[in-house]
């Protein structure tokens, strides 16, 4: 049991370690901003957006051509003073919800959003039943 927990723990650490490497993957000095806040917004947005070619990478990780173009465009838009919301809207209008890592809450995604709550309720009711017995 303890052995299992240790291996699970080290696996989790490994995943966290890997993700920090990925995030640091793109050249930092490629994009120069006027202030630190813009830079922070830039990297935050890249993490929120999916690369359309390589699928399970975000725009910060991907080295695909399209991802580079999208990074360049986002850089331009942030430097021009556009808000995060405007930039996300712009991309969503052209690439659909798929480009967003956080799916918006609407009729199509409602089940997706409430499923965790649903499963929690089912689990809790089973647990309650077992305890009462």
């Amino acid at each position: 049991m303890i052995k299992k927990m240790i291996s699970l723990f080290s696996f989790t650490l490994y995943i966290i370690f890997c993700s920090t490497i990925w995030a640091a993957n793109i050249a930092q000095d490629e994009y120069v901003f006027n202030d630190a806040q813009q830079q922070q917004r830039f990297y935050h947005l890249l993490g929120e957006l999916r690369c359309l070619v390589c699928q399970n990478q975000n725009l910060a990780d991907s080295q695909s051509d399209v991802a580079q173009d999208l990074r360049q465009l986002i850089y331009k838009k942030i430097s021009a003073g556009e808000t995060d919301k405007a930039i996300l809207n712009y991309l969503q209008e052209r690439y659909g919800d798929f480009i967003l890592y956080r799916p918006p809450l609407n009729a199509r995604t409602l089940l997706l959003w409430i499923a965790p709550l649903l499963f929690l309720l089912i689990g809790a009711s089973i647990l309650l039943r077992l305890i009462r017995r």
């Binding site: 359309l52 070619v53 699928q55 051509d65 399209v66 580079q68 173009d69 999208l70 360049q72 465009l73 991309l91 969503q92 209008e93 052209r94 690439y95 659909g96 798929f98 089912i122």
Partner: protein, 180 residues
């Protein structure tokens, strides 16, 4: 007894439901995106012609007819596969084809069209930024436009003659019927 029946039934149906959803998911191809620009007029564009680079093409250069815009590049292997199909479609002369040469070397592109034939009414060069305006994310991609320049369909991937017959031709017939 009945209660137990209901509980087991619920658990089994939950499991089956999940299994069906996940099984379906195995065969979905989310990388071939439909475009949210479907049923919208094409984005405004101003792109330079491939052959006479000082000539700028805009929406005015698309006649008020059903037309097909094909995104391609010489760097794209799949484009080579679909090229003969485009030549066939052009030879039929039912719909006009227009080419967007995507992120390419213009000399290589001209050479390609001279070697393999030119199925397009005109070809323009499009860079990465202009392509984002259209929601383009690779090549080949093929757009079907109605006479009012509204995007009716976008296909991502190799346009085989099968894809053309099954996905494009019925839509073209529909558009023709609607125009009458």
């Amino acid at each position: 007894m009945i209660k137990r029946f209901i509980i087991y039934g619920l658990i089994i149906s939950l499991f089956l439901g999940l299994a069906i959803v996940l099984y379906r998911e195995l065969y979905l191809k989310p990388q071939f995106l439909t475009t949210p620009l479907e049923n919208h007029v094409v984005p405004a564009f101003k792109l330079n012609d491939l052959f006479t680079s000082e000539k700028v093409r805009t929406i005015q250069d698309l006649p008020a007819k059903i037309s097909v815009i094909n995104i391609w590049g010489t760097w794209c292997n799949a484009c080579q596969i679909e090229h003969p199909v485009l030549m066939d479609i052009a030879a039929e002369k039912k719909v006009m084809l227009y080419g967007f040469n995507y992120k390419d070397d213009p000399e290589a592109a001209k050479k390609w069209l001279n070697n393999y034939g030119n199925p397009y009414q005109w070809v323009v060069r499009i860079n990465g930024e202009a392509a984002i305006e259209w929601g383009i994310y690779g090549a080949p991609e093929t757009y079907l436009l109605d006479p009012h320049h509204v995007i009716r369909y976008r296909y991502v991937g190799v346009l085989t003659s099968d894809v053309w017959k099954k996905l494009f031709v019925p839509k073209i017939h529909q558009l023709e019927a609607a125009a009458k």
